[in-house]
Assembly symmetry: C2
Homo-oligomer: 271 residues x 2
């Protein structure tokens, strides 16, 4: 890989640029984004040069789509015409089935591998990009591709390979249900008169995600509604079970299991 | 107040001792706890002296009960016999109705005011006590008492006065439901094969509370089952509503309301 194009130079795209640079990439990094974002990205030294998509894609070995999901789908619709045969294309969209399917329909000359770095932070935008954003977090690829696996590992992420459907089913529980929980809790607290006066660390912690922008989540709900619905149904079932057993001694087992599970999530992840 | 007794010198009791000391309390601080805890508390300079309850209570102006709820109830059963008339007694239990009722039945010579500092951290025990633990967090008193209000404010907490029933109803939503959410989520993730491999920051954030010890929560569920059941039912109703509207445009309003609520919780709290 001698030339990388980042399409959508926000927090994720910008961090990927900084991360591969820090990991030893010595080639050129091109950016495709809005004029305002490009200005910030150039100011922060995140990209080397800005270009329109057609021009950048035609001279790149790796194209990294870090836009919102619906924009990634739209980019895929036009991208293949611009790329040289064999160009590696990946993305960082939060759901994978819709994107992988679209790529299968549209990408002929390029080679597409879906990707999802499980990273992020509250502050968005390229000004908050950082090379360590992916470090020690899972990074899912929807199929094996040696060169891409190599970069995922070099930026410090934990490589996980699984197909798009399994990814979407699992993140419905680990990412999308947590968002809905946080939104529902913040909404419930806001609706209950006086509740804000007694909110302590637990409420603060669990309502952090509720400050996320709907603009990102609309596409996620749109492209992963089925798995989210199923995961939410199971989660609600578990809550009903706890509710029923509130004063039962078997709550100790529930707490033990949950605590062990929470600790396990915090272990350094292995393949 | 010239002499304070802390009964149960753990994270909360120890932090209260350090906090009043830092806020200018120049009298003596006595500790009632297990021998092991007392040793740590003396080593860390948290208390001045250890004593059995009867002896400490008889020479104190303020008695601070920072034990688990069931232990507070047991202490209340014997405490009044030891105290001098007019001794101020307060507690730091996480639910208030059961404790305030027990105090009404048992405390005759002393004056009891229920208390609940909305503070804490993952690490328990007096070794982790810190004088700033209560700083900028709500501190609920179940009735007005000038001297106690004075100390709550001097340790940097936000004084909130409300009756025990209202407290229990509100913390059911802001503290107890969050715990159950976290336990249910960690349990669900643990039960879903492969989910741990894709868990990102959201899952990590929302499963932190799941590592709490059941020993503390058993008493909370026991003494606040009614309000928790009601709050959980409403929260589940809100989740079902989000589930139904997953792809509806009105999710934007839900996100906006929740985000505004989450931001409001983070404003500096006022009376």
């Amino acid at each position: 890989v001698e030339r990388i194009t980042i399409v959508g130079v926000g927090l994720i795209g910008g961090s990927f640029a900084l991360a591969v640079r820090k990991a030893g990439f010595t080639g050129r990094i091109l950016g495709v984004s809005s004029p305002e974002t490009i200005r910030t990205a150039l100011d922060h030294g995140v990209i080397d040069e800005a270009m329109p998509l057609a021009q950048a894609a035609g001279q790149s070995d790796l194209i990294y789509l870090a836009q919102p999901i619906e924009r990634i789908l739209a980019t895929l619709d036009e991208l293949d015409a611009y790329v040289r045969p064999g160009t590696l294309i990946t993305d960082a969209g939060s759901t994978k089935a819709a994107i992988v399917q679209r790529a299968q329909e549209t990408i002929r000359r390029g080679r597409f591998v879906g990707g999802h770095p499980m990273a992020g932070k509250q502050s968005r935008g390229v000004a908050h990009a950082e090379p360590s954003l992916f470090s020690r977090h899972p990074y899912i690829l929807t199929s094996r591709e040696l060169e891409l696996e190599h970069w995922v590992e070099r930026i410090g992420a934990h490589l996980v390979v699984m197909d798009a459907a399994e990814h979407d089913r699992l993140v419905a529980l680990t990412s999308h249900v947590p968002q809905l929980i946080s939104t529902a809790l913040a909404s419930s607290i806001a609706a209950q008169s006086g509740a804000g006066r007694v909110a302590g660390p637990a409420a603060i912690d669990l309502t952090r995600l509720a400050m996320s922008s709907y603009d990102i989540w609309r596409d996620i709900f749109e492209t992963n509604a089925g798995p989210i619905d199923a995961a939410l149904e199971r989660f609600i079932g578990k809550l009903e079970e706890l509710r029923k057993n509130l004063r039962s001694p078997q709550m100790r087992d529930e707490f033990d299991r949950a605590s062990a599970g929470a600790h396990a999530l915090r272990q350094v992840r292995v393949l």
